[in-house]
Amino acid sequence: MAEPRGTLDIRGLSARYGPVTALDAVDITASPGRVTAVLGANGAGKTTLLRTISGLVKGADGSVLLGGRDLTGASAETIARAGIAHVPEGRGVITELTVEENLRLGELLGTARRGKGGREHRLDTVYEMFPALEQRRRREANSLSGGERQMLVIGRALLSAPEVLLLDEPSLGLAPRIVAQLFALIRDLVDREGITVLLVEQNARSALSIADTGFVLNLGRVVAAADAASLAGDADLRHAYLGF
């Protein structure tokens, strides 16, 4: 099958926590050079979706393909090495390590992947992108503000030379001005690097402002799928599921 590199194909994905169905036959495709937003209220299954894709949630039905390669049921380590970088909710900074050590972990994965033709990213580039991180490179990541932590995990993910970036609620807890900067940065990265971004957000308005395509999840099912502009223009949908 000749899927282009970096295409993330999710087919019939179902997952349950005990008797509760968290995902119900979800089909989502995310393509390179595009931001695909997954929207929905708390408990809609958005985080479970990302955790299932990246191998943290086991025992799901359906399949996850990256560029045609079947990653269903693979370990989180293998999926990360295949090129899916998951930036978890709550940021996933290892606070006991320094800023630079956090970044080096991403770089190590990037070095391991480069043999497979991943894009090259260097520590310097990340420091250029986020000067605040360079000033604190030797400090424990503990000392960073929320916005700086978000920069750190995104920089770390980029260093791993991913084909797909999974972002879980990157705007959570950030001031509106920082959110706007962050989303502009994500858009810019996708345009320049051509990576695939799957963006999970409760903040639907901001997410749709930079997304190309959007999927709306409700109680684990995809209830709407369209390009971002038509989702944002659908008043009924916005009222029912997106809260704006």
Partner: protein, 292 residues
């Protein structure tokens, strides 16, 4: 004065051994948040392997190296086979498993090597250096003990601070989930952590045994003192473990020298209770509250 010097020197070399044992406990604690109560029994077992080799005519150093290699293998096997199934479950389960291992290794050693006291050779002299007309309680073997513990501490610090492997091991210890998402093979890091810890533990076993008698329970007291040292040092850092070991060694040596050797175990438990009451994170831990 001479008595004070001797008690101090004796405390330092004992302390170095407690430090080595505390290092082994700290390595596993950092990686898995488990206190490995089988550490002493595993060290006893590998020390007996060394003794068997030495008694069969090999040199001390062949036995020494074999015990360290055996520690590496034993640590890895114990983690893969025995600990892996209980990892990720309640911590108490894992701790009970290590207690079970402790009993099992002691019983196995008694069956394989006998339960009698056997003397273990030392590679260097056990007669104190002389200063002027005095003989001090500091022997060539003490120099070897302190030197090898320092080398191990520096090697571990360098491993964790300057190498990619060390970074991956620390990341796995602090956050398994995030490490997995960054492609770190966390299971492999845990195995390595146990393997390194068992090597350091084996070293402590060899150092305690040198010039002394061994029997299947000879490490039991060291487990208590090493644990006190590790808690005193905060359980987190190799440096803290070594400092904790030296302080414990000195304190117990003063108690033994000035108050009576029957009070040593009581004093060790007294230190443990005092640390847990006053500074439960240990004297040297910089780690702030972690659970959010």
């Amino acid at each position: 004065m001479q008595q004070f010097v001797n008690i101090t020197l004796n405390g330092l070399s004992q302390g170095a051994i407690y430090a080595a044992f505390a290092l082994a406990l700290v390595l596993i604690w950092r990686a898995t948040r488990i206190i490995n109560f089988a550490q002493g029994a595993m060290a006893m077992f590998t020390t007996y392997l060394a003794l068997t080799l030495i008694e069969s005519g090999q040199s001390y150093w062949v036995g020494f190296a074999a015990a360290l290699v055996a520690g590496l293998v034993l640590g890895a096997l114990v983690e893969r086979i025995v600990m892996r199934p209980v990892e990720g479950g309640p911590e108490l389960n894992a701790v009970i498993v290590t207690l079970g291992l402790f009993v099992a290794f002691q019983a196995l050693a008694a069956i394989l090597f006998g339960a009698t006291f056997q003397s273990f050779p030392a590679p260097f002299g056990l007669r104190g250096f002389t200063v002027g007309e005095f003989t001090i309680a500091f022997t060539p073997f003490s120099v070897f003990v302190i030197g090898s513990v320092l080398v191990v501490m520096l090697a571990l610090t360098a491993l964790f601070r300057f190498t990619d492997l060390g970074l991956r091991m620390r990341a796995s210890a602090f956050s398994q989930e995030v490490s997995r998402l960054l492609g770190v093979r966390v299971g492999r890091m845990l195995t390595l952590g146990w393997a390194f810890a068992a090597v350091v533990g084996s070293l402590a076993g060899l150092l305690i045994a040198g010039g002394n008698l061994v029997h299947p329970a000879y490490m039991d007291a060291v487990i208590v003192y090493g644990f006190v040292a590790a808690v005193l040092g905060g359980l987190e850092s190799p440096g803290g473990a070594v400092a904790g070991g030296l302080i414990t060694g000195l304190a117990l040596s003063y108690v033994s020298g000035y108050l009576g050797s029957e009070l040593v175990t009581l004093a060790a438990l007294g230190i443990l209770v005092a640390v847990l009451l006053v500074r439960p994170r240990g004297l040297f831990s910089r780690v702030a509250e972690r659970r959010v």
